[in-house]
Amino acid sequence: MTGHLLLTSVPRLAQHRHLKRDEQRGLWTVQAPERYFVLDDTAHAILSRCDGQASLAVIIESLCASFPDAPRDTIAADVTHLLQGLADKGVIAA
């Protein structure tokens, strides 16, 4: 599993974890071994930017550009918190 995320880390979905639309319920999810994570809009905005290329810093920049009304510090803290939590659960690798 992944340790502490840095701004230079490149977070991506771990092997055999998939971002998947649940059409029946109108939700975004992550499918994982015997697990199913439902994503809210914020979590989806973050995870859809984890493409295996973008670093944590780049992901935060991209979100700041898309949500100009939100304070940068808040976005940075939220993104780091969410991705670190998912890394601790093995959903995210970096």
């Binding site: 092997q15 055999h16 998947k20 319920r25 499918q31 071994p33 601790d88």
Partner: protein
Amino acid sequence: MIPDPPLAVLAELTHRCPLQCPYCSNPLDLERAAGEMTTDEWRDAIRQASELGCMQIHFSGGEPTVRPDLEMLVAEAAAAGLYTNLITSGVLCDRARLERLASAGLEHVQLSFQGATSDVGDRIGGHTGGHEKKRLFARHVRGAGLPLTANFVVHRQNLHQLDAMIEMAVGIGAERAEIANVQYYGWALQNRAALMPSRAQLDAMIEKVSAARERLKGVMAIDFVTPDYYAKRPKACMGGWGRRFLNISPSGKVLPCHAAESITTLTFDTVRERPLADIWLHSPAFQAFRGTDWMPQPCRSCDRKDIDWGGCRCQAFAITGDAAQTDPACALSNDHDRLVSIASEEAQSGGDGFITRNFRSAKLAPTL
């Protein structure tokens, strides 16, 4: 009330299995090979499960790898957009076959162990050489880059190996270990006196699991399922009857849980005769205990009724003879004290002999 669609389907492809575990979750009345659905029938059922709203499929049995068409069924599920999981004993599948399954779209493997060593594991599973085959299979799984869950069903005759099981799971590269106490239906109910732990043994297990979770943070996750005879409140069995989950038996019977056929007062429709969506939405067996309207007191006025959904219907039936009763695992049930004394007495005085799970015993076993 229109129910939400199910999230997951358990496809019990067969009841054939080289192991003979005395707590097997299959019904006592095992389905013979001749009664199993064909490849095309399974493919159709898989497509229907996806259309109905299932997101995940668990291929199980019996031993699912006895079906030579497993690769085709995994491919069908993957093509239908289902996340695929194989629940296996690991004793029949070589490396080449596992790689074919991975290529077909398999995403995850849950591998069962009956102990931490060959002497214990092979005796409980009733299959000589099984434990070593499982360890070899685990290497194939990790070699194919698939995530691995190690499953250990624990009971009085193997719980002394709990720490060694956890250590072994780490050693074989499992990302998750499932330590599940036996749940007493079907075969396990027949063998309850040989399997039931004492409360002191349960307390010791809980302590060991908590310590291991702390020690292995970031290395391996551990799920723990308690034996509910010693519980205060019942488990939220299946997340509620007919709420998130359905099970398809080898012959195509559609069940709210894998043990539901132990409730002999219900009859179950099959996907051979009725569309899956129609069964999920309208069949009497699924409607029987869905939601909270069916509940007796004290469940009906309980503030936990939307949390535990009244517990387990199979257990209510097994212990009281009435599937609509409060689950005796709940301390508020009139039958709870009796359940606890059964557990304590059997943990003390039960022997070590099993009725082994196989087709021969299936004929001989009395129907409870």
